[in-house]
Amino acid sequence: MATIEVAPRESEQRQGKRPIINDFSIQVATVNGSGSQSANTVLLRSIFQMGIPVSGKNLFPSNIAGLPTWYTIRASKDGYIARKKEIDFLVAMNAETAQDDVMSLAAGAAVLYDEPLKLNGLRNDLTFYAVPYDKIVGTVCPDAKLRKLVKNMIYVGVVAFLLNIDMGEVEKALRKQFKRKQKAADLNWGAAKAGFDYAAASLTKVDPLRLERMDKTAGKIIIDGNNAAAMGAMFAGVTVFTWYPITPSSSLGESLIEYCKRFRIGPDGKATFAIVQAEDELAAIGMAIGAGWAGARSMTATAGPGISLMAEFVGLAYYAEIPVVIWDIERVGPSTGLPTRTSQGDVLFCATLSHGDTKHILLFPSSVEECFEMAFDAFDLSEQFQTPVFVLSDLDLGMNNWMAEPFDYIDRPLKRGKVLTKEDLDRMGSFARYKDVDGDGVGYRTLPGTDHPAAAYFTRGSGHNEKSQYSERPDDYQNNLDRLAKKWEVARGHVPRPVVKGEGSKVGLLSYGTSRWAIFESRDQLKKEYGLDVDYLRLKAWPFTSDVFDFIDQHERVYVVDQNRDGQLLQLLRLECSPAQIAKLRSVRHYNGLPIDARSVTDEVIIQEGHKVTRQEHATAGYSGEE
């Protein structure tokens, strides 16, 4: 994406010292492995409990302990939960990055730093607050070994004082965080209080940033996408989950284990699920396919490198027509890439994974709610169409905490697809596994173990005819491929349809997955700052439904937003669009490993629309208040 020199819009406001309430971002720079994750979660939850819409983004290294990590918390009265490019309040705890962190701030920002770092001499256009953490921690934590961990909770108290966070909420969040660990909770609460008391006694509030209670989070939950996906799978009746640990998907497997242990053990103490940590991703997908073949709702979860290893087996599942669900929590590639950064870089690879002519159903969750729901959709589609289904989440969605409405219980019957029983075979006498009986391209299958002499068939990745017999005949091969293509066309009518917002504009935005949140905000920016109304289509699946083509037809220009270098979704669209439709497509691409932000989208659209990037308030414009 083009780099644009932009002075943050808020800078004047910040320097003018007008209070800025519930609309800013806090960045905490620490060393990973130092316990800062707990402190940051407590901060996030405290703000959430004050009723203020909030989001948290963890920017962490691929490392166990000792490398720099940043956590960004954004409070937004308007409900914007995408990453905010500009940092308004920096908590500088890491000596190694502190100078750079301070130098990269825009004028007017505030910095809370560890006193020995002596950062206040670096700039004269920032507000600085110094806290002697080591002195304070000595008084609240007698055990020297624990001080490194407890130190971080002190800044929570200081930030609470400076930004007006209710300490009652801090204590509540902290006790939730340390649930059953009373001693740790008490120790950390002591540290937070000490931080607050120090700040109250020694610091003078100068910056304009303040938090005030709202009522916008009542009843909401906080959860990450991997946890939501695991929960969805558990409720959707997953019976076999086989996996190999890989960042950023591992927590999906771990959450699923926890949920299943709690809620999927029968009254007899026996498990209604099997979870196996395989020796590698080849085995993980192979086991899931073997299980899907034998009738299980089976699933695996991985990330890009795992997808590469799964390619051969996925082709087999496509060709032999075996249901299986694959969650890809996308990280940055190619190769090992940036294992702890986010992207939408696997779209094209997953779309046609494996050699030969293949096409796979892709689902694009944009939120934790959709991770939950699409766990159901993915199983239903894969069993209905007897084919692999990919759910393309990403690190931003999977590993970060998101606010959400509580999930609705899904009680619709599961779609288990066309499976013949012994009784069916008694009536029919025989069946042909790959015969298109219903005209939808989907044959009937039997499960191994079906107690009927005519139940068996031979599953193979080699050429086969309708009866699943080995065949190298040209017509058998071609008929099979054509039927698979037909099945694909039928699936087009069954995948989740897109969400369309706005109508009548000449300009449309089209995105998928987590770009949703940047676009929600960007549309407001475009309207408020440039008077530009843009319609929006949020895609949920491939194959594309007719809504997608209608949307393109209805607009003169459609900006396709991708979080990858090559505009991968744009390329998929080009494969299926008419030349006239293709001519309307433009591309916005974000691929630096960070979650996409609204400003990047807005600026890129404005440039391509032929405007200069100069902003002004449009009197008539207001926030849409909906995403």
Partner: protein
Amino acid sequence: MATTPTSTPGPKTNRIGLQVLDYKGGKTTLCAGCGHNAISERIIDACFEMGIKPERVVKLSGIGCSSKSPAYFMNRSHSFNAVHGRMPAIATGAMLANRTLLALGVSGDGDTASIGLGQFMHLMRRNLPCVYIIEDNGVYGLTKGQFSATADLGSKLKTGVINDLPPIDTCGLAIEMGATFVGRSFSGDKRQLHAMLKAALAHNGTSMLDVISPCVTFNDHEGSTKSYKYVKEHDEPLHEVTFVPHFEDISVDYEPGSATEVTMHDGSRLMLRKLEEDYDPTDRLRAMHRLAESHDKGEVLTGVFFVAPNKPTFLELLNLVEDPLGTLPQAQVRPSRSVLETVMEELR
């Protein structure tokens, strides 16, 4: 004209009332004389005699000549011809979904010892209930005769190429990894293979059988150590194998001290009449030692090398419900609305 009915004996049926024909497969497309065809015949006989219901069996294979052979036995069983070297994963998944199945895997030496070595070892380690047969001929047949990783040091290809790497002993490896029934046989030894297959089918856990199965087209010549001639000349049986299934009341008399008897998990008996001193098939270290020794001596050691009849299987460790997971009713696999409410409350 009146005739006196004579009682002609009907075709022989097994304990579940099936005839041997019910265990037949399609016509083989392998070369005439291929050892694999003999193994298919032995599998048919063994399953028939054991009274195994064909519908309960899943036949699983990878890629290669060996992996084609499931098409040539037991047409009434579901079958899965997977990708090269990855049959263990399919077997594992199928058994997870339906623990009542009987998994019968057929692999080859390339499929197991080269491309599939990782999956093979992990399958052995897990002790998944299944029979894993390697049809071992030391060469790649479908790609026209390259060495595989079980080819012996110094063995010669038809083209004159000499193998200069040591073989991987899949039996030693299986024991090392934790397999609980491990043996080697020869496709040309009808009696031994038949008894070992039946014992393997009766075993509760992973049964690994490496069956030397000469390739008549690419590896049956002078200089090959996997030819019929070579194996017959160097076959060194550890013992005479007799298997008595639990449902047959047969007494076998051996002179005291001349045989070792192992009681299998299902009550069947495996009798090993000693041909050499003090071989105890439940002694893991002894088995590995004896296998290493056989390599040094240039023997083709055959027999049941190791049995651990009562070690918990992978499925037992998973503590699964009795019924197949794949077909559990929805009520059993979909937690209630109140469970969701509980979880939502925790996340507030």
